[in-house]
Symmetry: C2
Subunit: 349 residues, 2 copies
């Protein structure tokens, strides 16, 4: 069962807000519902929201019943803009919508119904490719995991955060399936607790060995020599290898380097945004402070207490040992090696 899939002319998603308590799916029939599900984090994880937005474009094409191709193209361009605004940081969302819009603008499709059919084919491609990509990353990354390792993992990067299988948690899953014996410490990942709720739920299904820890304890276990590898995902990677990822990733990368522990970001190359020179240019989403004040509706402080809730941070590339992609493990210098991995050539001088 995929986290994001097309079922009976609708977009079917696992509602990630309900886990680990219940595994429920929601079915969306409009692109506006899709954008709302991305904003309210019913679906989350950079690759998952990319695929969801691609299917959102299919829903939009079905909502607009015009037979005029020019009108349909304009309507789909507007729907794409709406979807892109649902969350600002993860670039896979923009990447997937742009890939769908490339088809919309392709003069080869000159009637509306052909375009509608091709959009569904393309969204299915994006979803299928994501699974293949993740399994490939899993194989590349699993080579880094040895018997006896204890891996620190942040947020959720598993099957739930993707169409299926996962990025950083996919690497862990591959190593587990290969029979490597290791333990995982899962940062709970406040405020939305994706590590405690979602990654723990996934590792329970796999039967992998883990403990949930508060985010405050990650450095403690590193300083005691209890962590041998750090893995997390990415929501956007700049051309120089700076990685925007879930808030708290920067901290554990700094602590890993301070303690001599290898630290890798795991992400498909669709997460790399070569248009941005450095991570300083990546927009950081600031979410509702109620997510801090009242996690999942349980208030920890009164609602007039001031709070801030940045959803992502930027890890400068110098703290990363490498970036695990479907094209292999990209090592420093990232500015050269990311371009080479993606474009097959050196970056422009």
């Amino acid at each position: 069962m995929r986290s994001v899939e097309w079922q009976e002319n609708a977009l079917s998603l696992i509602d990630q807000r309900e886990l680990p308590w219940q595994l429920t799916r929601i079915s969306l029939t409009t692109y506006e519902e899709t954008a709302a599900a991305i904003t309210n984090m019913a679906v989350r994880g950079a690759p998952a929201i990319g695929a969801a937005a691609a299917f959102g474009m299919v829903l939009a094409a079905n909502q607009f019943d015009t037979t005029d191709i020019t009108t349909l193209r304009q309507q789909l361009t507007d729907a794409g803009s709406h979807l892109k605004q649902s969350r600002p940081t993860a670039v896979n969302l923009m990447w997937a919508v742009d890939r769908m819009l490339k088809l919309v603008d392709d003069p080869a499709f000159d009637d509306a119904d052909s375009l509608r059919k091709m959009l569904l084919v393309e969204a299915q491609h994006i979803a299928d490719e994501d699974v293949v990509t993740n399994k490939t990353m899993g194989k590349h990354g699993a080579a880094l995991i040895r018997d006896g390792d204890t891996i620190l993992h942040h947020c959720n990067t598993g099957a739930l955060a993707t169409v299926d299988y996962g990025t950083a948690l996919g690497v862990i899953r591959t190593a587990h399936e290969q029979g490597t014996q290791f333990h995982v410490l899962l940062d709970e990942t406040r405020p939305r607790l994706q590590g405690a709720r979602l990654s723990a739920w996934e590792l329970m299904q796999l039967g992998a060995s883990f403990d949930i820890i508060p985010d405050t304890a990650a450095g403690h276990y590193m300083s005691r020599g209890e962590i041998t590898l750090v893995l997390f995902g990415a929501d956007r990677i700049a051309a120089n290898g700076d990685v925007a990822n879930k808030i708290g990733s920067y901290q554990i990368a700094v602590l890993a380097r301070e303690n001599g522990i290898p630290c890798y970001s795991v992400a498909p190359t669709s997460t790399v945004d070569l248009s941005l020179a450095t991570g300083a240019e990546i927009p950081i989403e600031e979410r509702d402070p109620d997510e801090v004040r009242a996690p999942f509706g349980n208030p920890i402080v009164p609602d007039d207490y001031p709070a801030r809730n940045p959803a992502f941070d930027v890890t400068p590339h110098r703290y990363l040992s490498g970036i695990i992609t479907e094209k292999g493990i990209v090592l420093p210098p990232f500015d050269e090696n990311l371009s080479r991995a993606i474009l097959g050539k050196e970056p422009d001088a």
Copy 2:
């Protein structure tokens, strides 16, 4: 109103588990109840539990109705052992009980009732001294705070964590009372959320400017240049200046140094344990994982999900700019300067 005080032959405490929702006091009449209140964190904060344990010794003296001084001394020694075991990391607890036991063993008091009276006087001394000490630390530390600063603070170190006024939060309070204009970012401090619940409540009372942030966001704000000073308390300080404090302190100290931000621990000299050469010898309490799984009774994951819950960590002295004590700001090299501040002489060679 003090957090810890003697009222009508009983120990009166603010029940810190009920804040910020309600300000309630509990009244304890036995040393066993006192030990339980320390273990279950109705009272917490190194100086507060020291004072509470001192009054616990007074309660013990009143519980044992013997007139035989030798019997009473033995009973009080046993009660002291019981109290010392209520929490393992903060040394102020041991320091306060040992100070009471010194009186118990003093041959100058040769009848039971005199000893009982002197124990109450001594516990009151400990409590009163704590307030004076905190205000003195506040003055020393406030000199470091300038208009426009943004201070990162971890856990709760305020009036609630002490008899009154606070240690690190006492420094912040002094600067606020002096009219310095600054902002405070309060780490929420999972798992027990002392920053969000208790420090925020205290700063609301003071009318100081603050925001609660998830522990995951501290490094983000440092990397953006938004934090100019880091302050936290201490539960035990080794002779070389290594500081055991609430879990998460080590992380922010490393991040502060990485970002060139001054970082100070604020603690009375009763927190220094010269018998321990380094922080590696400080016992770290591991608490019930239910505090991680179900904060204040609200489960975030099922109770069979494995979790770990270390209550403290150790910050190696090299990450600290100084230690703010009632005897002044102790600067590196801490091994020499802590001994000099406490003993008034150089450490033994």
